[in-house]
């Protein structure tokens, strides 16, 4: 049984079909990349999985439990926690306080929550910002705060929505290191990413959405060679580049 099972998920906004009959699994302990051009329905799928939208039809199972109609906070309590593509810092609270809100999910004890929060802050390299108000952080830090806060809840499935978009290449490298670290801790990851190169080096499996439909699913290697994906999304030139960077990461 997979940790997350998405079954025939359809989400309509009026006549617009943002997700159309999408099915896939996220295995325990794996990193799954969810890619696709802008407007493909990636964020919408996240919103359905995390309980923010009620899907028009289809089912969602988390850890064997039907979570299709659970409210967002219940889904988070079960251990499936998401971040937001458009960052949502709790502005008038400090960075530490933001992360503490997450950390309190696993118990009301102050000391435990503080130690969890501090650990997550240092994991996401935010420790020297812990006293700053979250609203005033630069964007790179806000992205990492999203991650640290979600992480502090002690999730079994962490869903990152474009956590690397808008970051510099050094920042992306750092973020990838963080993601690898999370996987080593046994956290399952579902990662929405626009930057293909980034996700390809860490994902065990990639699911490709286009126009709300799943057009491919497979290992990163298969995906970059898939005809439909190339046509719909990558473009031949991009594929070349990807293959080359793929070689580089493997050799170096």
């Amino acid at each position: 049984m997979a940790l997350l099972e998405v079954r025939n998920l359809t989400m309509k906004f009026g006549s617009l079909v943002a997700c159309n009959d999408v099915s896939f699994d996220v295995e325990k302990g794996s990193v799954v990349g969810l890619i696709g051009p802008n407007g493909a329905g990636k964020t919408t799928l996240f919103n359905c999985v995390s309980g923010f939208y009620k899907p028009t039809s289809g089912k969602l199972f988390f850890d064997g439990r039907d979570v299709t109609n659970l409210p967002a906070y219940e889904v988070a309590r079960l251990g499936a926690v998401r971040t937001f593509q458009v960052v949502r810092p709790l502005k008038e609270m400090t960075v530490l306080d933001n992360v503490l809100v997450g950390a309190f999910l696993r118990g009301a004890d102050n000391e435990t929550a503080h130690s969890v929060a501090e650990e997550c802050l240092s994991l996401c390299r935010l420790e020297d910002k812990s006293g700053n108000l979250a609203g005033g952080l630069p964007i790179g830090y806000k992205k990492r705060l999203e991650m640290a806060r979600a992480l502090a809840t002690g999730p079994t499935l962490l869903m990152l929505d474009e956590a690397m978009a808008g970051l510099t290449s050094t920042e992306i490298k750092e973020a990838l290191e963080i993601i690898k670290g999370l996987r080593e801790r046994g956290i399952t990851l579902l990662v929405v990413e626009h930057i293909m190169e980034a996700i390809m080096s860490v994902a065990d499996k990639v699911v490709v959405l286009d126009g709300g439909e799943k057009i491919a699913e497979g290992t990163p290697r298969d995906i970059v060679e898939d005809e439909r994906v190339i046509k719909a999304y990558l473009g031949a030139k991009f594929t070349e580049r990807l293959k080359r960077t793929g070689e580089v990461t493997k050799n170096g």
Partner: protein, 333 residues
């Protein structure tokens, strides 16, 4: 380590403040002037009211104009116990507070479904409804209200006639209770959840926070404490009627004192009350002849001036001053 030292300094300040209030009745300024006693009692009462409101309106960010209803229910709780049932006030005080919390939850459950300003507007309407209801409800005294007869002064009956010292310590207890609860909340999970809901309800939910439950709990606690304040108010005035407790005027005081002092700050409600209440009492005493409402005009002007200058109220202004002093001490860094 740094934080624990900062915490204990805060604790010391708080304890020092309580000690200061506790010895006030021993000063000649207090004991020689019944007016000074009255002003001090009012300051502590209104800061407790504002702090009760602050839990919901400041920390949790849900603006309620309905708090005079809960205040009123508290006043009627003790009023009914004493006047109708001939009991001591204490069971009435407790019952009033519990009923106020229940009414608050029943009212706000549907209202919390309203987004943004509609919650605030809905609470406005509730004041009017309760005011009318109590005006025509003869069992609780209707428009005439409830008048206390003579009872033995002292803590048992919670009335005093000659000296106000008893009332002063009574309201000090109330103040310690309300402020103590908020101090506790600030440091614990519930306080973090309150602010998280204020800063972003969806974000809070994504982290496993049941925002509806947090808001309802804040409302229940806020109303419970507001009702205790109302009970004190009835005991202090030896009477209760609908317009003196359940009015928009009274509701506005909960809101304005907190805004003036600083929303969602611990000392804001005290600072707001310490400024507004003496002003209100002295203008009433000296300008009262001009006609009612002069104090409200001054109230309004003061709030506009302060809030335009610093949206975080007096606490914001103090923070700014402290920061400026620190910076100049730090050698222009």
């Amino acid at each position: 380590m740094n934080t624990t030292r900062k915490m204990s300094r805060k604790d010391l300040f708080w304890l020092g403040l309580l000690a200061f209030f506790a010895v006030i009745p021993l000063t000649p300024w207090f004991s020689h002037s019944s007016f000074a006693q009255h002003v001090m009692i009012q300051v502590l009462l209104y800061s407790s009211m504002a702090q009760a409101w602050n839990i919901l309106g400041g920390y949790c960010g849900q603006t309620s104009f309905g708090h005079s209803v809960f205040f009123g229910i508290g006043a009627y709780g003790t009023g009914m116990a004493v006047v109708k049932f001939g009991l001591i006030p204490w069971p009435g005080i407790l019952a009033g507070a519990v009923i106020a919390a229940m009414v608050a939850v029943a009212i706000s459950y549907p209202c919390f479904k309203l987004k943004g300003h509609y919650f605030a507007i809905a609470t406005f309407a509730i004041v009017e409804i309760f005011n009318r209801l109590f005006m025509v409800w003869y069992w609780v005294g209707g428009a005439i209200g409830l008048d206390y007869g003579f009872t033995e002064p002292g803590w048992k009956n919670f009335v005093w006639y000659q000296s106000k010292v008893g009332y002063f310590y009574g309201v000090l207890l109330l103040f310690v209770l309300v402020f103590g609860i908020v101090r506790w909340i600030e440091k614990h999970r519930f306080g973090f959840y309150l602010r998280a809901v204020r800063e972003g309800q969806e974000t809070a939910e994504s982290l496993g926070v049941n925002s509806t439950r947090v808001k309802l709990s804040a409302m229940a606690l806020s109303a419970f404490l507001a009702a205790l304040c109302g009970a004190f108010f009835a005991q202090y005035n030896y009477r209760v009627d609908p317009p003196m407790v359940m009015s928009l005027d009274m509701s506005m005081k909960f809101v304005l004192i907190t805004i003036l002092g600083g929303l969602g700050t611990f000392y804001g409600p005290l600072l707001g009350a310490a400024l507004l209440i003496p002003l209100q009492e002295y203008t009433r005493a000296y300008l009262g002849g001009i006609g009612g409402g002069v104090d409200l005009i001054i109230f309004g002007l003061l709030i506009v001036v302060v809030v335009v200058y610093q949206p975080r109220g007096i606490m914001g202004i103090l923070d700014r001053i402290v920061n400026r002093i620190r910076r100049s001490e730090g050698g222009g860094k």
